[in-house]
């Protein structure tokens, strides 16, 4: 994999749109010493203004829909959106809930889906690696 086009490390912003926290814990697990994605420069940041990747968890609750859209718009281009978990991908066990307006791809363009309830940290890391390749291609253009 050629990773020379992007001069700096890949930074991700995590937004929870109503998740049960299962996927959020797995994202954090990817940062623990067992997986330690920060050794590759992949890290979570506190603002979408600094991010290259949006990690979206949760089935998009009604109150979170405009916030999700706003955070997406505030992320600088080029960006990649990764939906982590079944809920954000297709509603998961909550898909019939009256208070959901998801899944995430009905509000923002999604590039990569990571299925699972919750997905394993390895799957999340692989998705971020794919995002990196996508950003490389965008940077080369």
């Amino acid at each position: 994999m050629n990773v020379s086009a992007i001069k700096r490390a890949l930074w991700a912003y995590h937004i929870n749109t109503g998740s049960c926290n299962g996927c959020d814990i797995e994202i954090l697990a990817a940062l623990t010493p067992r997986y330690d994605v920060e050794r590759f420069g992949i890290m979570l940041v506190g603002s979408p203004r600094h991010a290259d990747v949006l990690l979206v968890t949760g089935p998009v609750a009604r109150q979170m829909a405009p916030r999700l859209k706003r955070v997406y718009e505030q992320t600088p281009d080029p960006k990649v959106v990764i939906v982590v978990g079944n809920c954000g991908s297709e509603g998961g066990v909550f898909y019939e809930s009256y208070n959901l307006v998801g899944p995430a791809d009905q509000h923002i363009p999604v590039d990569i889906y990571v299925p699972g309830c919750p997905p394993r940290p390895e799957a999340i890391i692989e998705a971020v690696a794919k995002a990196w390749v996508k950003l490389e291609k965008a940077a080369e253009k």
């Binding site: 937004i15 603002s47 979408p48 203004r49 600094h50 979170m64 405009p66 916030r67 999700l68 706003r70 955070v71 718009e73 505030q74 992320t75 600088p76 281009d77």
Partner: protein, 114 residues
Amino acid sequence: MSILGLGYSPWSPIFWLLAFVVVTIMAYFFRRRGQKKYKKDTAQTKVFLCGEEVPEAKQRHIRAHNVYWGFFETMKEYYEANMKTHTGIINDYIIWFLVLIAISAIILFIVGIV
């Protein structure tokens, strides 16, 4: 840089000028390293407030008046009574002035000072 050895360097304008130049160069250096590819006049330039819509400046600033909220709440009755007299009309203030002068004069006359 003998100026630093004089003992009054914090008050020297040259010292301040040098500090200003150093800080300006540092600020310029950090600003140059910032993100340049953002799209102007889009949400990418707006303030990030955890996804919330940023309210008007008037609404998001806490005014100094709010600090005294407890004080005003406790003294509410006193202030309400006093504020009724403060109409903002100069004629009312002159009437108050004349009435108080008249009352003072009567009291002084009765007591026998005048």
